[in-house]
Amino acid sequence: MTNNKKLSTEGLNLYFSEKHILKDVAIGIPQNKITALIGPSGCGKTTLLRTFNRLHDLLDYVKITGKVMIDDTNIYDPKISAVEIRKRIGMVFQKPNPFPKNIYDNIAYGLKVNNTDPYRIPQLVEQSLRESFLWDEVKDELKKPAIQLSGGQQQRLCIARAVALRPEVILMDEPCSALDPFSSLKIEDLIRELRKSYTVVIVTHNMQQAQRLSDYTAFMYLGQLIEFGTTKEIFNNPQHDLTKNYVTGHFG
């Protein structure tokens, strides 16, 4: 892989209390590409995703050792605040989680807490809604409670909310798992668009989705990174038996 590494880990170990969740993970996620994390439930892919934007900081029983880097910055450097990191690394969650506010405020909130010039906020809200292909559907009802949108629209709103901050990386934790196939395809189109400006890391259980969408794929199993390569290699010519069994559906 000759690409620039946007995110990387080295000797990353993570424990929930005594439980060893991530075991010596070393991965380099290339810039402006879509990288899929796949693997059976409980393999640590979501946990790995959440180490990138320090969401584990909220829990006091999590212990992390090893290096996690964005560009040349150590994400866990005590001198760097989690807030700073999360501005650079946005996240979209498994279940759409719009705030209990109206559509406009859902996006404006992130801009406000990051001290965006108030005069620029309306324009940035519109821009990010356009980029998430939501603008035409909601432009006349920006004051409507976000919760009244359909599930797919809510998820696109959550993506718009992340995009509005112009992060460098967008993390996605099974963003389509709560959606119907039609909404999922819309989100996938959107993610493909995002690749032009962002580095995307997506956790997915859906093998077809990983193949359709991603440039690179990482297969994880029991907290270890088993194999990482281009999506083509992982699905067509896996080097490891575990990977082969998983991607061909012969697992367990």
Partner: protein, 295 residues
């Protein structure tokens, strides 16, 4: 048990639960009717307009008794408002601290203590007002007696705090973690997340907490009776002695001759108190519904 027997027990229990439910409605209706019946008897003797506009509550004056509710109503509102000004910020901040910032250990110590505060009898809180808070207020403001509205407000705030804290803490705790994670993931810090996401999301519960606390303060009798000086005159401020509606009823009901105008007058002011509490509840209810639309 065969089928018929089962159906029979089923029926019996259904009836028992139905009766229990109807009984509650019956009791509420009965209280309401009793208040209304006696209030109407009062208004046959005394003009409703005078009741609402007279500025004197002077039932003892045999030649010209006056039953103006205003001084009592203003007293009740003043003491309650004072209590809420103290208790709402304190209660909600404590609830937010308990739910969002306190360690597990501190939570397990603090929560039972706060709940224990609710178990202190109101008479004991009244003592506190006479012995400590009252003299303290007198000293602080350089006045003769500390038995005034401020004293009542402080004590009522103490009494409504456990209700407000407990209900508000539950409401804040019930806000889904996903809201908070969403906020943190956007680079918001703890304070922005608390004030702009978590508390607004918990608003229906917070309003309920405030309403319950306010209901407690409005209806509390023994503490205000002991601590506010019981002077049935228009208070000019928090440092004046006041006589609330509840204290008036409690003090005068025991001495009043049966079925006199004065006797009926006490029912009339009780009915007003009832209507106020009802209005507070309905207002709270409608505020909650307005907020729910966003959740």
């Amino acid at each position: 048990m065969d089928f018929h027997q089962r159906q029979k027990t089923d029926n019996i229990f259904r009836k028992i639960f139905k009766i229990a439910g109807l009984l509650i409605i019956g009791i509420l209706g009965g209280i309401f009717l009793m208040l209304m019946y006696n209030s109407i008897a009062f208004f046959l003797h005394f003009k409703p307009a005078d009741f609402l506009t007279d500025t004197q509550w002077n039932p003892g004056n045999t030649s010209h008794a006056e039953f103006g509710i205003l001084p009592l109503l203003v007293s009740t509102c003043l003491v309650t408002a004072g209590a809420m000004i103290l208790a709402i910020p304190l209660g909600i901040c404590t609830a937010a601290f308990l739910s969002e910032f306190a360690s597990k250990r501190l939570q397990t110590i603090l929560k039972p203590i706060i709940e224990m505060l609710a178990a202190i009898p109101s008479v004991a809180i009244g003592f506190l007002g006479i012995v400590i808070v009252g003299p303290g207020i007198a000293k602080l403001f350089g006045i003769q007696s500390g038995l005034n509205a401020l004293n009542g407000s402080v004590l009522l705030a103490i009494m409504s705090l456990p209700t407000i804290i407990t209900v508000a803490e539950d409401a804040i705790h019930a806000v889904p973690l996903s809201y908070r994670e969403g906020s943190y993931a956007l680079g918001a810090n703890r304070w922005a997340t608390l004030f702009k996401i978590t508390l607004p999301a918990a608003l229906p519960g917070l309003i309920a907490a405030i309403m319950l606390g306010m209901g407690r303060a409005l209806g509390e009798t023994m503490t205000v009776l002991m601590a506010t000086g019981n002077v049935a005159a228009f208070p000019k401020g928090f440092l004046n002695s006041v006589k609330t509606i509840t204290a008036t009823i409690a003090i005068e009901m025991g001495e009043v001759p049966y079925q006199t105008t004065h006797y009926f007058a006490l029912f009339a002011i009780a009915a007003v108190l009832f209507i106020i509490t009802l209005a507070v509840n309905l207002l709270g209810e409608s505020a909650i519904n307005k907020v729910r639309k966003f959740q």
